[in-house]
Symmetry: C2
Subunit: 387 residues, 2 copies
């Protein structure tokens, strides 16, 4: 195993009704709370009212309308609210977008310049407001990690900001909040979780045996429960296992002893930066294409291991087993109702070269990924997704 540091201090409260801890926990930080949320779904579900009632002794200020790919313009509004109202703690209610925006707001509140500066140059980040989370979509794992992805619509950039001070202090994970999730979000969220695992599993180093087994465990859990959650949206066992998979999928546990640049995320971030498609949908399209493109003599043993340990494929030949595993992956995403081609989400070849250049420029995929990708490789992968 490669050397690593593991220190994840987020306090996870998992299970039905855990939201009742909010008054006591938020009270540790102060009375001025910035509530960050997206559209109207938390109002329709009643969660908004529950929070208003629970926090009736607090001063609640609101930043709503956080976009699916959260934009720096929303972050700027949040930072202004923090300053104007001397916010003590941020309460993100939603999925990865709300949490990610909150992370950039949290450090932006202690920075004199534009919060986009912190995305571009992490060394300028010094301090952050505490963040509490009420999770309503399981996908990104942002509830228990210290990273966030922010989009800049002016520059077409979608970049990551990360730092130890950005771990949420508290995350309330109540699987019953997933009952009302639209099927396409359950499906896209599952693709996102699985993609996180793939990115960590398919890395050059082979000696992190336990980490590899943990990756396979999360993948098996997604494969087992996503169809159940789609068929029975209020199946608590399915929702809870998927929710915990999402949290564990990106809280550093699945990368310890390994590490390297992520490939599909780099390619997908350009798709959603240019076309604003759902992140998990983009990943479901790009991932099988990437797998087929990078399958070669050097990589086939790991793809065969994946096929056998995750899909139970018994084919003895490595290359054939690997190909079966990739086919099963693609079929699984399709079975969840996810698009499998770029055409289906309205993307043509017009910007492939521009996006490929950006994907390589803004990531380590040319030098630190499982299979090094140059812009021409990325174009070919995009082309194979065109449909």
């Amino acid at each position: 195993m490669n050397s690593f540091r593991f220190c994840v201090p987020t306090d996870i409260r998992f299970g039905e009704g855990q939201i009742s801890c909010l008054p006591e926990e938020l009270g540790k930080y102060g009375k001025n709370v910035l509530l960050v949320y997206g559209g109207g779904s938390i109002k329709r579900s009643g969660l908004y009212d529950t929070i208003q009632e629970l926090l009736k002794d607090f001063n609640l200020f609101e930043l709503s309308g956080i976009e699916p790919n959260p934009k720096i313009t929303s972050v700027r509004k949040g930072v202004a609210l923090c300053r104007e109202h001397s916010i003590d703690v941020i309460l993100a209610v939603g999925g990865g977008s709300c949490i990610d925006a909150s992370k950039n707001i949290a450090c932006g509140a202690y920075y004199d310049g534009d919060p986009w500066d912190l995305v571009i140059d992490r060394s300028k980040m010094t301090k952050a407001l505490p963040i509490a989370v009420v999770l309503t979509i399981c996908a990104t794992g942002s509830e228990m990690n210290c990273g966030a992805v922010i989009s800049n619509e002016e520059t077409h950039e979608k970049l990551e900001i990360a730092g130890d001070i950005l771990y949420p202090a508290l995350s309330v994970c109540d699987p019953t909040y997933l009952y009302t999730l639209p099927a396409r979000q359950t499906a896209a969220g599952t693709a996102d979780i699985m993609s996180h695992v793939f990115e960590q599993y398919f890395q050059p180093y082979d000696g992190a045996y336990l980490t590899d087994r943990f990756c396979e465990s999360v993948l098996k859990t997604c494969i087992h429960y996503a169809p159940i959650a789609l068929a029975e949206p209020d199946n608590y066992e399915a929702r809870s296992n998927l929710m915990w998979s999402s949290t564990i999928g990106l809280n550093h546990l699945l990368t310890v002893g390994k590490g390297g640049a992520w490939s599909c995320h780099a390619m997908e971030h350009e798709l959603s930066a240019y076309y604003d498609i759902t992140h998990g949908v983009g990943l479901a399209i790009v991932t099988p294409a990437w797998m087929r493109y990078v399958l070669c003599d050097r990589t086939e043993a790991r793809f065969a291991m994946y096929a056998r340990n995750v899909w139970g494929i018994t084919e003895p030949d490595d290359r054939a087993a690997a190909e079966q595993g990739i086919a099963r992956t693609e079929e699984f995403f399709q079975s969840l109702g996810l698009p499998s081609t770029l055409r289906e989400v309205g993307i043509g070849p017009e910007k492939f070269e521009e996006m490929a250049a950006e994907a390589v420029r803004t990531s380590g995929i040319a030098t630190r990924s499982y299979y090094h990708l140059q812009p021409e490789d990325v174009v070919k992968i995009y082309e194979s997704c065109l449909g």
Copy 2:
């Protein structure tokens, strides 16, 4: 999944040479350090000198001679040293015994009475000194959890103390420190890790799918690497995977969504409390006997799942698969050179009834375990281990 809280703030520094962080990390707490260690092994290995050199600007006080089953008498000495020298931070160098003693010392330092009071009544525990760990034996997982087991030689009691304030602040896990471990400690440590996993895996609740897969992952890692570590004591990949398995094996991750009383530990604690045998050895003897005793129509499906997912057994009949899995478990412990009968470790039937009564009295095995055990059950299990 059952509801749970997961909040494990220990800062893990994993890998060769990570000890170099000690001056900076300990310096956060102060200059007065209580060094807690066992026998002379850290002097023979050079680790003692390394620490003296690294901490030459600190005031180091020492508590040596911590026993394999740490005793309250040692804890009392440590508490006295903390008061006498205004200790700022405890540095435990060793395995579970040193860490466990340090945990009781850490909270004892802030308690006016006898530290054994805190073992008997956790509600008296209010505050604890920070604890840093340099791990030299992998087995108990104490380096990343908030529990400790302390023995009282006067009362023949071996009891657990636990509380959120007892998480080590920092744990340095350097797999190269395991290179000089005697083979029997590598073997007993592996049995201890696997027993922790068994205790968490064999519980009544079936809906924590991901947690079960994680348990199987740790078991497979132990089975894969323990023989390699015994054959090649300086195999870094084997030592690092075993070390991380030990930490993960008991840092709460493998019990989330499940829970219940532990059976084999309750029975083994009496063996080591009465006869002072090595904990892992006692577990290796008791575990297969417990498995055979509790195998029944209700439990066979889970034992079959264990046999298939961990040992790759393909037998379609559940009962037959379960029996094969149990046999493989026993054979594996024997293959590590561990004793498989109580006679081999000098234990006869004389105190079976007394120990069985204590095992039931001091644990939840009669009411909250996978298979409820009354004193007469425990006696039968002890008898089947006699040899």
